[in-house]
């Protein structure tokens, strides 16, 4: 009847063991973390934490052992990831490398690139960022102007990228650049390169966002040399590769949990003698949260059997982003602010942080408008 399929999916019994291992680890690792630090979830940066997680074997979980991976299942990785996010663990350092860049290199990269990068990523010591947007190319990604020209043994890259998450800390950037032009097809002539951000000709600046923190930045590329074996995939196949990469970004459980910490705080606030209004909001949020988790599980179940789930993942991301974006506003509207107890202060801090962070939820990884365009296409409207 429809073009999408959300068959329920149940995680197997054996993940219960893994869950309790992750919980025990996080309990200890996050003992000194403040509520606001936890509310950062996947924007929280902590090198030490990422290294410890690598030691546990929880980065690159599904990758081949010969590259330092652990050959565990997609479902086991899902469990680790959702436990990290629900607990508010600081995963930013390794997040992009684990979710996108690693799989992208394993799929499209040369043997040299795999050996050079993947084992260090799995240890939680090598961080990636994604060079897609440019000052004049945001949602219209195919209009980028950063370009590569042929030189002896490789390429010279010129241009700039912006809004690049963790660019100030990352070691390597998978960069989308123009390597050719086809007047009839604007998606042709794009390629992906692995750029070592410590190369000569690279300048990076962090950009302070309106929460007062620095999570993304800009990077200028001035005659940056990249050897031939750092071309990712096929020359000119960049567009298809980037879309495969974005599908990885859009399908994870992180797409509805960004405000989850605040919900836990809210439940703490209303513990004693909740009003009907408070119960009502708690119930409404629970229904959304539970449904989004079922949808996310369903997508995971499909991906685990190697089925495509682009439309489904896009639906979950848009619904999830709307939910996590709305949540701080709804809780602010319902909180009883007359009570000034210490627990209320930490709730107020978390709320304040999330109100400011929430606009990014429907921007990163594809704006709401881009996502709804993809869904319209899936419905046959374009």
């Amino acid at each position: 009847m429809t073009n999408y399929d959300f068959t329920p999916f149940e995680l197997p019994h054996h993940v219960r063991q893994l869950r309790s291992e992750v919980r025990a680890f996080l309990k200890e690792a996050l003992v000194d973390y403040t509520p606001v630090q936890r509310a950062h979830t996947w924007t929280g940066f902590d090198s030490e934490f990422s290294r410890k997680l690598g030691q546990q074997g929880w980065i690159g979980m599904t990758w081949p052992k010969k590259y330092g991976g652990h050959e565990r299942s997609t479902l086991e990785r899902y469990v680790v990831v959702e436990e990290l996010l629900a607990a508010g663990a600081p995963v930013a350092a390794h997040w992009i490398a684990d979710r996108q860049s690693g799989p992208q290199i394993l799929r499209f990269g040369t043997e040299a690139a795999r050996q050079r990068f993947i084992p260090a990523v799995a240890k939680g010591e090598l961080y990636f960022c994604i060079g897609m947007s440019e000052p004049n190319s945001g949602s219209d990604l195919a209009s980028i102007s950063t370009h590569a020209t042929r030189t002896d043994g490789g390429w010279l890259i010129n241009g700039s990228k912006i809004w690049t998450t963790i660019v100030q800390h990352a070691h390597v950037m998978i960069t989308l650049v123009r390597t050719g032009k086809d007047e009839n097809n604007r998606h042709a002539g794009l390629s992906q390169f692995l750029i070592d951000l410590n190369s000569p000709g690279v300048t990076r600046n962090g950009i302070t966002d309106h929460t007062g923190e620095v999570h993304f930045g800009e990077v200028f590329l001035d005659n940056v040399f990249v050897s031939d074996d750092m071309l990712l995939g096929q020359l000119g196949d960049g567009w298809a590769q980037v879309n495969a990469e974005l599908a990885l970004e859009r399908s994870g459980p992180e797409r509805y949990l960004s405000s989850y910490q605040l919900y836990e705080h809210f439940l703490g606030e209303i513990q004693d003698e909740p009003s009907e209004l408070e119960l009502n909001l708690a119930g409404n949020i629970a229904a959304e949260l539970w449904t989004l988790r079922q949808m996310s599980l369903s997508v995971t179940g499909k991906l685990a059997t190697d089925k495509s789930a682009i439309l489904e993942a896009t639906i979950v991301k848009d619904l999830g982003a709307c939910f996590e974006q709305q949540l701080p506003h709804n809780i602010q509207a319902a909180l009883n602010t007359e009570n000034n107890s210490p627990s209320s202060q930490s709730t107020a801090d978390v709320l304040s942080y999330l109100l400011k962070a929430s606009p990014s939820f429907s921007l990163r990884g594809g704006t709401r408008e881009i996502l709804r365009g993809i869904i319209s296409k899936g419905l046959g409207l374009r």
Binding site: M1, T2, Y4, F6, T7, P8, E10, L11, P12, H13, V15, R16, R19, E82, A86, A87, Y260, Y263, E264, H265, L267, G268, I270, Q271, P274, E276, E278, L279, N280, L281, A282, G283, N284, A286, A287, E288, L289, W290, T291, L292, R293, Q294, M295, L297, S298, E312, I315, D318, L319, E369, L371, R372, G373, I375, S376, L379, G380, L381, R382
Partner: protein, 353 residues
Amino acid sequence: MNEFTDILTTSVDRLFSDLMANGMPETYEKPVFDQLWRAIEDLGISNLLLSEDNGGFGGGWQDGFAIFKQIGFHAIPMPIGETIIAKKLLQDCNMPIPDSAITIGTAHTASIQHDKSSDQILFSGDVPALPWGVAAPTALFHCKSQGECYFALIATSHASTSAQHLNEANESRDSLSFVNAPLIDLKKLDSSSNQVLVAGALLKAAQIAGALEAALQLSVQYVQERKQFGRALSKFQAIQHQIALLAEHAAAASCAANSACHAYDKGDADFEIAAAKLRANRAIGESTSIAHQVHGAIGFTQEHRLHHFTQRLWSWRGEFGNDRHWANYLGQQLVQIGQTNLWKELTNRSDAR
């Protein structure tokens, strides 16, 4: 979805399409009702969840979901889902299973007496909002009397007074009053959770998912056909994004109801069903608004089919628990679970045992 569910969905889809081929029948008229019910019984759908020993298919709630959703998708004006649920609950309680359409509900007032001379159990009380309460020969309802909870099975012809009501979509929602009427059977329940209400909410959630899908399908077709400003409406981004949102709500309601059925097959699913009904309810306002908006004036006419779905959606939102009811229920559950156990409880309920 397994093979059985696939075959079931296909054959029920065909049956329902045939039933509705000549327009929407007025099933609150008893002769029309009886005639249509025979067609439904010929396929034996109402025995879907009964064991093979009881003449059924041995299906689970997930098979039920396939039928319930089809009822919504085709806007079938018959208590098919209600009968499937009643038979399943009766079987689970070892009560007799009538071979007829069975409506379900919850009594507002109830008094139960044992008449020694006739050795009959007599029921007095009011049972409101029974789907096809007058047309369906039997009713299964939940009632409370002197602090105890019961399932009561009764012939609707024993009602002393009956008031026929219609919901927004002209579906029967009748109120029956009984005075010392003999029950077919009575069962005292151990749990205080009203499973007629819970299973009814699950049925409505799945029906809502089906009706949302129908509204989505009609909207997609219409904007592809209708041209304004020299191009199809589907080419306007404003229209595309509205319909994308409608699809998102339809997908959420469907996934929620289907997942709740999955949980019900494993055991207690009050939490999941509450969440599913509430999520489905919350999809309705925005979705029906979008469906009507993209249809323009034609969608507001009696002649167009859209109202069969939107009017049902508005009715079903209030039936077997509205948003306030289920949000409060869930809120109370959440406060009991508490801040520190929430994630643990959510995952524990869904990981395979």
